[in-house]
Assembly symmetry: C2
């Protein structure tokens, strides 16, 4: 019941047809057969090794023994195979042993890993982020010291931001860094450190935000440090333990097999650390990395949605209950015969496909920012990425929670029993709208930093390009494409009006506008998803000309239509919600004030 098969056909459909490509088309990994091989190998590893450990890890959990975290049975072996397969190094730069695959492929692989086993794969997500920071901000010595082992997967990485009083608001953090010879000594406690300790790698490279003596107050006085779990000699050998202690591991709602640690730096002599990036430039360096992490968390939303969908679909095919509503079939039927079960499954499927397309499209824009040949293209891709990142993070994770909940519902009473597996996805999904910046913060980021770019013209330019795609659907006059195209244009027009009003509100009253930020980003997600489904239907319809019976392509058009008729449609009435949410919102304070 809990098996998982990577949705390779859809991932490749998206990568090959819906993502941006480098203009001169000389990408190393653009070969369709090679990509297929990569994903087939990944799919095997996910199905055979990672996926079976998912519920085992959830049941067994992790333990803290003599100050060290012990991962659930099977995780260390799986990790060794993960390294052996070369999967740890797909994103890293070639200079330090990586394969430098484009992010649209890495994103597709990340979807597969997190769907198979989110608790396991969080280790890799954090390590990827730490590698990026060191690649972008490290000195040559730091890169040579840390990157080869991190890219190979021998060492992992963590992000140490949060303190009890400093969560979303990092300006409040208190951890200290005191200069000590050519190093620094760090003193302070960090919480919510994902894979803050584990026994799968021989070292863990902690990236830690802390304040130097006499640093300015607030967010301008924060620096970033590298603080390894075990000290490292100049020639890369592991030396004695650094002064970092696992105080406790959190008892969480989900991702139970992912150790979320409280770490104490500098209980004794101080944790020996190196400065990375400029003094007081820590937040900027961390946020550069966090943007990519946000995209990857959005992809986790796709993962949990796909896993929940597969589980619900399998259940609905085998669970016999009730009679066919139109007596089309005699006797007791599998519940997939019931229209409401079909509706739930199509709802899950169509949302998941839209999320996958939007998130991998976003990953391809990230690739353009790094690899495009002209600065002009890079700049435009960066603008697109700026707009898309908070939307993918927020929308795909909110949808992940919703879809996991629908997955439980499809199972009826069995969905509430932990053994079935659907409940785990419902629990695991719930962290996604919270970490790497809560969805409320993403919504505000979209409003205050992205919608306002060039007085709203960057956002408008993006919407116009979406409309162009929809107009192609209309012009082609093939089957249901004009219907889809018209619906999408109507939705984009409403979104544009909403954006205009919201931006104008923002100029006059930030507080009022901010009340509409969440319904606005939700509206963006559903409509951007609709645009992706229109593009999907268009491509499918073109490809069908050469292969008229291809089931995947025929289904893709139906799924697009279902999305357009339901999810997209539901978003249309959000305009007034965005505009009017502020009107009585502060009455929540009225009863509380004395």
């Amino acid at each position: 019941m809990q098996e998982y098969n990577a949705p390779i056909e859809d991932i490749l459909f998206v990568i090959n047809n819906l993502t941006s490509t480098i203009e001169n088309n000389n990408e190393e990994y653009s070969d369709v057969e090679l990509m297929k091989q990569i994903f087939e190998e990944a799919g095997k590893f996910a199905t055979n090794i990672l996926a079976p450990l998912n519920s085992l890890g959830d049941k067994e959990g992790i333990s803290l023994e003599n100050g060290l975290v012990r991962m659930p049975n099977g995780f260390v072996d799986a990790y060794n195979q993960y390294i052996k397969g070369g999967w740890a190094s797909v994103a890293g730069s070639k200079e330090y042993g990586g394969q430098e695959m484009p992010w649209k492929i890495v994103g597709g692989l990340n979807e597969v890993w997190h769907a198979a086993n989110m608790s396991f794969s969080l280790n890799m997500l954090l390590t990827q982020g730490a590698i990026e920071v060191i690649e972008a901000y490290g000195t040559k010595e730091q890169k040579q010291k840390y990157l080869p082992k991190m890219i190979s997967g021998e060492w992992s990485g963590t992000m140490n931001l949060t303190e009890p009083q400093a969560g979303s608001d990092l300006s409040l953090l208190k951890t200290k860094a005191i200069p000590h010879n050519e190093f620094y000594k760090i003193y302070g406690n960090k919480i919510y450190i994902t894979h803050g300790d584990q026994d799968m790698t021989e070292n863990i490279i902690h990236l830690v935000l802390a304040r130097l003596p006499d640093a300015p107050e607030g967010s301008k006085g924060i620096s970033l440090f590298i603080s390894p779990k075990n000290m490292i000699s100049k020639d890369g050998k592991i030396l004695e333990k650094n002064d970092v202690r696992v105080v406790s591991i959190e008892h969480k709602l989900g991702t139970i097999a992912s150790p979320t640690c409280v770490l104490a730096f500098g209980d004794n002599e101080g944790s020996i650390s190196e400065l990375i990036a400029h003094e007081n430039g820590g937040l900027k360096a961390m946020f550069t990395m966090m943007n990519n992490a946000r995209l990857n968390v959005g992809i986790q939303g796709v993962s949990i949605a796909e896993r929940a969908y597969q589980q619900a679909l399998n259940f609905s095919l085998t669970r016999l209950q009730g009679n066919s509503i139109d007596n089309a079939t005699e006797g007791t039927v599998a519940i997939i015969d019931h229209p409401d079960v079909q509706r739930m499954l199509m709802d899950m499927k169509s949302r998941t496909e839209a999320m996958r397309a939007l998130s991998l499209y976003t990953a391809s824009e990230l690739d353009l920012t790094k690899r495009a040949s002209s600065e002009k293209i890079k700049k435009k891709a960066q603008e697109n990425l700026d707009i898309l990142t908070p939307i993918v993070k927020t929308w795909c994770t909110d949808q992940g929670v919703l879809i996991a909940s629908t997955g439980v519902q499809v199972h009826g009473g069995m969905g509430f029993i932990e053994e079935t597996g659907a409940a785990q996805y419902y629990r695991d999904a719930r962290i996604l709208p919270i970490y790497e910046g809560t969805n409320g913060i993403q919504a505000l980021d979209l409003l205050r930093r992205k919608l306002t770019m060039d007085d709203g013209n960057v956002f408008k330019r993006f919407l116009n390009e979406m409309k162009n795609d929809a107009e192609i659907c209309i012009a082609i006059k093939d089957g249901e494409l004009p219907y889809i195209g018209n619906k999408v244009i109507k939705a984009i027009n409403i979104l544009e009006e909403t954006a205009d009003e919201l931006l104008s509100m923002w100029k006059h009253n930030k507080r009022q506008a901010a009340s509409g930020a969440t319904p606005f980003i939700d509206m963006c997600g559903s409509i951007f998803g609709g645009w992706m489904m229109a593009k999907s239907a268009l491509k499918a319809s073109q490809l069908l000309k050469n292969n008229k019976k291809d089931k995947f392509l025929i289904s893709k058009i139906s799924t697009s239509l279902f999305y357009i008729d339901t999810v997209l449609e539901s978003a249309l009435s959000l305009k007034n919600v965005v505009i009017n949410a502020h009107k009585n919102v502060d009455s929540i304070l009225f009863n509380i004030e004395n």
Copy 2:
């Protein structure tokens, strides 16, 4: 952080102003001061005794020792106090020692109990249901034998419907009942038996669905039996154990302290039981009871929403993080200052108040069906109840899940840590859309049995009465009342068009119509809730004339406006979703077929 205070002011506002009353107004419990006293006493018991055990029970869980279920520490004591306080007997008939309070009061009390401790209070919910069945279908001897002890709370009751192959589809059940002297012997396994065993009462009265020898196949051959855990002598003494065994207790996502049992009847000599209601009349008897249980499950949705809201509100007042968006306050602020947090809290509050009003209004219609002086009024009340019950069950439980999820989100990272408490509500809430008939089955019930009553005219009559209330808001021309009234009328008109189209679709193609059943019931819930918020604003505005500074009443108008501008608004675009959901829904089968 995890304290709970019963929302007495709002419960009384609803009961006193928004519910139906017996026309001659001679209700025994209509005295406002008496009701206030009842709810204040209930509130104390909930806050001081039940609420603190809620997270303790969740952490400790239950155990199965020597074939008997042991409840978490403190539950047995709390249960004894619950009986002593007379709370067990509020609904039972006076003839057997009950207090015969109207259901609108019992419903309000049930909200409080389930908010304080859902796992504990599930015992009472099931016992109330079993009492109703015996009151309605028992012989005089059965009533005298069982009701006094059950109404006092000394004995509890359970419902034994589900078997592994027979969940939503009870026609598939296989448990056998063999005549034996004046009794029957029952043989078979039942699953998902809520409070199927516990150590709080000296006996447990199991109501069991089973088949007599030679009974017709399917749902027409099911009879209902009373099968006590411990045998009872003619004069009411407890005798030896009956042949009922606890096979196991389920490991569940939520309501961890509520024992969900697998029970084996008749492992040995057969479980001695009495027939209740006619032979083969078991399903009808059980469904009579289930209708009230459905209303009570809807109320559980209100409970979990209120509890999640209170927890989130308290957290938002004390958690300091970030600066005021418009710099209205200097320095770090409590997160309730942030517009998006205010929006989340108002969203939770306004939905919860609409749910409370709709569910207690429904309970008052149930009272009319039993207590009204004329058959005409009883008949109309029954029609209203028929329409409202599936809507309350579905909408309030779906909202309960949504609101509990928003509650986690307000907490940020701490929401994902079990210690905080918000996660428990998210877990507990998830059973509500599933049990007592999944929400998909409720949606189909509304479509096939309720919307079709008198060819749609009963539903239309109900909508017209809703419109009348909205027109009063418009006519009064006071403050924002006309705005609210117009919005509600617009929504009801769209709902009426949707209902017309759906009913017409049902006549021509049941399968197509059934695909829209869930978005339709969701639309009904949001719009019926809007009607209740319009009535709330109207009453609050009238009452304010005598008490212009009443904070509760001023807030009520703001909350109503917020609901109208956001929740009601979002429902408007569901019309096309209802009508179009069927179009591609069966394409889910396409990829699967070979």
